[in-house]
């Protein structure tokens, strides 16, 4: 026999209870994530900026061979992958907060957040695929554009 919920009759003037069905801790997890990922991102991005903009000839040394040389090492593959994912989640959550703060109409929020999540998905999937399917020595490319370890 199915259990029946006992009928409760509230005392007069009992304050209306808030709906509890959608209460989760996701905003708390997001708040913690922003701080935890932020600390890791400071290390990852400062390392990235040092190697790409300060070390050697900085921006003027960056070309296909430079990127291929970096991604020949699993360390920089993992570094860049982690940086991609953490920065994209951190940034997307930050922009989500900004949309929630300033877009006052529900429709506007839905449209802006849909565009945001679409951009997140496209950029993260594309970036991840590029890191894992990258070919440092593509066939048919001019040899002087390739890293020195490519067969000539």
């Amino acid at each position: 026999m199915a259990e029946t919920t006992p009928l409760v009759i509230e005392a007069p003037r009992t304050p209306a209870r808030r709906r509890t069905t959608t209460r989760t801790n996701y905003e708390l997890y997001g708040w913690v994530f922003m701080r935890a990922s932020g600390v890791v991102l400071v290390v990852l991005i400062f390392g990235h900026l040092f190697l790409n903009l300060i070390d050697g000839d900085g921006i003027s040394a960056i070309d296909f061979g430079f990127v291929a040389g970096k991604w020949a090492s699993p360390l920089w593959q993992v570094w860049d992958l982690l940086m991609l994912w953490l920065a994209m989640i951190h940034g997307t959550n930050g922009v989500r907060t900004i949309i929630n703060d300033y877009a006052e109409r529900t429709g506007t929020r839905v449209v802006l957040k849909s565009a945001l999540y679409l951009a997140f998905t496209v950029v993260v999937v594309l970036g991840t695929l590029v890191i894992f399917t990258f070919d440092p020595c593509p066939a048919g490319a001019a040899a002087d554009l390739l890293p020195s370890f490519c067969p000539r």
């Binding site: 701080r35 932020g38 600390v39 991102l41 400071v42 991005i45 400062f46 900026l49 903009l53 300060i54 000839d57 900085g58 921006i59 003027s60 960056i62 070309d63 296909f64 061979g65 990127v67 291929a68 991609l84 920065a87 994209m88 940034g91 997307t92 930050g94 922009v95 900004i98 006052e104 951009a119 950029v123 594309l126 970036g127 695929l129 590029v130 399917t133 990258f134 070919d135 593509p138 490319a141 001019a142 554009l145 390739l146």
Partner: protein, 126 residues
């Protein structure tokens, strides 16, 4: 949603302005990140395509843009650590103003180290 009356300053002073700068820099950095992943993805197209696009990052106007980007990232990074300390360090809220001036000081030092090197690479005529 309730609407805030226009033209208010919230509470002003260090707390509000550091929060506003954190928000503005974060917003800008995010959009650069989207573009930056797309331009890097060109390594998957061909060395020529990647070199052509990264070449545009080397002209002087883009070089100044990179200086502004790094300035924004360095502020957002140091102020983010300050925010984390305010939240998790028991003495954080008491020292949040002092910590902002430490953030500004570290930002000046970092940029004083970075700018000459970077602008040298951009304008140095390699």
């Amino acid at each position: 949603m309730p609407e805030a009356p226009a033209g208010t300053l919230y509470r002003g002073r260090e707390g509000m302005w550091s929060w506003l700068a954190h928000r503005v820099t974060g917003f800008g950095i995010f959009f650069f990140l989207l573009v930056h992943v797309l331009d890097t993805a060109l390594v998957r197209v061909s060395p020529e395509a990647y070199n052509a696009v990264i070449g545009t990052y080397k002209n002087p106007i883009m070089g100044l843009g990179e200086a502004a980007l790094v300035a924004a990232i360095v502020y957002h990074a140091f102020n983010g650590i300050r925010v984390t300390l305010v939240d998790f360090w028991s003495e954080g809220p008491r020292y949040h103003r002092v910590m902002l001036w430490i953030v500004v000081g570290l930002w000046v030092v970092t940029m004083a180290f970075f700018l000459p090197r970077h602008l040298g690479n951009v304008f140095g005529g390699h």
